[in-house]
Amino acid sequence: MKLFTWYQKYMTSIKSKLIVSVILIHAILMSLIVFDLLQREKKFMEDRVLENAYQTTAIIAKTAVIPFLNNDLVALDELISSLDEKHNNSMVFILDKFGKVKSSTKKEYFNKYFDDDASKKLLNNLEISKSIYAQSIYEKSVDTIYPIFVEQEIIGYVRTLVDKSYLSNQLSIITNKGVLYIVLAIILGAFFAWLSVRKVTSRLNNIVNAVEQISAKKFDVKLAIGESEDEVSKMAKAFNSMSYSIQGYVDELQKSNEVIYREKELAEITLSSIADCVIVTNNLAEVKFINPAAEEIIKYNMHDAQGKKIEKLFKLFEEDEQTEIEENLYMTITTTNDVKVSEKYAVLENRNNEKFFILLSSASIKNLKGETEGAILVFHDVSHKVENEKKVQWQATHDALTQLNNRLGFETVLNILTKQPIRDNSHHVLLFMDLDKFKIINDTVGHLAGDEVLKQVALLLLESTRKNDFLARFGGDEFGLILFNCTIELAKEIAQKLIDEVLAYSFKWEDKEFKIGLSIGIASINAKESDTTSILSKADLACYMAKEQGRNRYYIARESDLEYLQNEHKFSWVSKINDGLQKKKFVLHIQKIKDLNGDNDHYEVLIRLKDENNILIYPDSFLPYAEKYALLPKIDRYVIEEFFHWLHKNQKTISKRIKFSLNITGQSISDISFVHDVLKLVEIYEVDCSRVIFEITESTAIANINESTTFFQILKAKGFSFSLDDFGTGLSSFAYLKSLPIDYLKIDGTFIKHITKDMIDRGMVESIFKIGSLMNLKIIAEYTENDEIIKVLKTIGIHYAQGYAVEKSHSIEDLLI
């Protein structure tokens, strides 16, 4: 295992692998070479030794002939001792031909005969061999025998036993040297391998270091390439170009980051600057950013809000301020793809329990893949607007004097009741009340007193009704009362009570005491009677009946009453209007609206009623009745149809540049079916909608702001234009102008009449003009009764003028002449 871990530790790097490979190659090659050399050397040396032994023996044999013949043992001894000196461990024997040792380097052999097997074998070999000599090779010595000749005759032998252990010593020296060379070669090889590999690996390590630097986001790395063209250099080059590219990319990234940062700063500054509140969350609905406007509302600063769930920051309620919006706000945002703009107001309650009306829009933030990364919430505080709206709404539906609902408010409630599916046991009653002897007060002590009476009576009536009952002043001395969930019997009691209270009431004014009375018409609101107009008419009629029957009493409306009434009031306005509509006694008139800066004049379409004597009756006379009996939508429809018909009939004659404005009343706007009827007529008469302007009074529009908006939106889409009539008289602010898609603004005539003299009027007109112009509205001035007024209007820059100074109204048919 140790070897294995050692192997793992050191053998995994290229360097060590290469070095080990070199070591192995060197070791193997050197070993083979040394081994081969040793073998050759051994062979060579052995051959040399054998040759040497042979030569030596032969020389001795040849040299020994004479001393041998002379039997000169001393000379022989000298001869062999010289050899003996040369080879320490060698033995030399000179034998006579019988094998007796005549001379030897070892004296113990003298005069003896060899009797060992090796010696016998050697001699035997010599006899058998064709060679002149014989040799036996032993481990450490070479045994050579060579005959001593005289001519061809053998006279004796020389035997040498040459020690060759020195050979193995020499061989072992050579072997050791060889091993030393192997080791040296390995060391040198390893060293040079290490050197060369180190060059490469150090360069590789440079690359590794450089890569690590890049990992550490230090992109400014450049590798020295050197002169060589090897793979590492190529790699380094490739690396350099890569790091160059990365550097370039990073630079670009930094630049774009800077741009993004600037954009972000700009965006944040923008977000901080805008009045709208902005909250940005991540995809877990945790707040990432809120702008100062939002901080102000939700009472969290950015630091505290960051990371908090958006639900924790504030509560949201419906517009009624009661119902908490329970659905997960954030989920709503993130699951919606589009920008969601709430049309309704919501109420935001901050941590200090302060409530704000807000208009909320939200959107999810998607990344490039379309995944939701967060959400953005934009809202603005519309509390003031809502308050204003409520105020205006209140004013539109209430009577400023008595603070009670006015006729419009009353009709609205009545409308709701009649539209409501009535349950079996639910039954409501309408009381139409008219004060008796009121006119006397007005006439004798003035309007102020009359007004005071009205206020006090209103209070009196209010106190005498049940909490839930709905009291309204219709105008003048007329009041209306709705008794919810009330039987006729109970209504009678209440009516009587009211009458009694009023009778008991006395009004003191400047030492004078006045008594007034009360007549009440009672009509039930039930399933059969769904028509507001008819219920009101019935109640009105019942009230009339009560007065007829002697005042200070109540009268319960009956079906027969109408018949009676129709007989009695054959020429009452209701029947006149209905008759007029039926028999088309209403005729269209027009009045020019002059373009003060050019010739784009257009006309306002007006209505006149022709009586049986063909005398024209002006709308002032019949419209209040029409309004009272809810006949205005009928009249509006009549006018529109008549005009569309006329336009269709005469479209070739009438210049296409001429536009016509038609008046639409509040009752029509509240009537959902009205819009559809108009659209139908557009189809029937193929109307070029761009030629038609609908005029709506400011107060109507604001009183029915939601319906007006819907009405405008639907017809605007068709190409109709809109004009806001009687602008300035209402209680609206300019703010409303923004929310309504109108094109023309008709300044109320009361500001125009005295414009030449009254600087306040003129100032009003000027400011209306300025603001209207800013909103790209065309401004019309009515009641332009003289040329001086026109001059002033032109000076101010008013676009259009309408009035006697421009043109008196005339029949629409005159246009065809």
Binding site: S21, N70, V101, Y113, T175
Partner: protein
């Protein structure tokens, strides 16, 4: 992992190749003694050792064969001094000395059993280059003459006595160069170092056979009177039976073909029976020679 095992295997291989030398006992031959009597036969070195061996060994082989169960070692000698030492110390069992040595050996425990035939071979001769044109001994005066050795009877003493009796003062008239051997004496003449060289017939004949081309330039200019030939002597303590057998073989050698061939090969005619008294003639010559040249040796 494979490289690891390979590496280990390699280390084992290295270690085994290093320890190649194992300790083993080196070979030592064994020998024993065998009892046997060997007779030594020495011949005075009138021929070089090899010639001597080739000439006489076959004769000894024949003798060994004839007698049976006898071993005779032919022992040559490097020089006359060497031979004399061995002879006078009784080293030889048998020997073939020249007449002068025979005479001396008689007083060292030897006795004569035979002599070489014929006697006239034992004389001195003078060799000279043919281009020296030697016709008269007097031409030698003042010249160098080569001799083998002062004690050589036939090749030195007898030629000097010849010059003496032919009127040359051997002490003054000539320069004597003792050159160590018979061939040396011949070669000194051939190469011109000496005007003439003294030797005796057997080496001269031998030299002529060996160097026929050179021999054509040479000639024998004078020869001395003959004396008596070499003897065969034996030590007096040798078994008489062997001595008699030996004598018989030697004398009858020229009576059969094998013997004749051997004799022919050895360069002489044969052996004749002889005894100590036959060599008193040597003593006579020596006394005459001593008067002329002073006591030799």
């Amino acid at each position: 992992m494979q490289t690891k095992y390979f590496f280990i295997a390699f280390l084992i291989f290295i270690s085994t190749s290093c320890s190649d030398t194992t300790k083993t006992q080196s070979y030592v031959p064994h020998a024993k003694e065998i009892e046997s009597r060997i007779y030594i036969f020495g011949i005075h070195p009138y021929l070089n050792s090899k010639k001597m061996y080739l000439s006489y060994r076959p004769i000894l082989d024949l003798i060994e064969h004839k007698i049976g169960n006898i071993k005779i070692l032919l022992e040559t000698s490097s020089s006359y001094e060497n031979y004399n030492d061995k002879l006078y110390n009784g080293h030889f069992d048998f020997s073939l000395p020249n007449p002068y040595q025979t005479y001396n050996a008689l007083s060292h425990g030897y006795k004569v059993i035979a002599k070489m035939k014929p006697d006239n071979v034992f004389r001195g001769i003078f060799i000279a280059r043919k281009d020296s044109n030697l016709t008269s001994v007097s031409q030698l005066r003042g010249k160098s003459i080569s001799f083998p050795a002062p004690s050589a009877l036939a090749a030195t003493m007898m030629p000097l006595y010849y010059l003496h009796i032919h009127g040359i003062d051997i002490q003054k008239d000539i320069e004597k160069k003792y050159v160590g051997s018979q061939y040396s004496s011949i070669l000194n003449v051939f190469s011109g170092y000496t005007i003439a060289g003294a030797t005796w017939p057997p080496p001269w004949e031998e030299w002529k056979k060996e160097n026929p081309i050179q021999a054509k330039e040479m000639e024998v200019v004078w020869q001395t009177k003959s004396l008596i030939n070499n003897s065969v002597i034996v030590k007096e303590n040798i078994d008489i039976k062997i001595v008699e057998q030996l004598m018989e073989i030697l004398i009858t050698l020229d009576t059969h073909q094998i013997g004749k061939t051997l004799l022919n090969n050895a360069g002489f005619e044969g052996f004749a029976k002889a005894e100590n008294s036959d060599y008193s003639i040597v003593n006579d010559f020596l006394q005459k020679y001593n008067k002329v040249a002073g006591i030799s040796q």
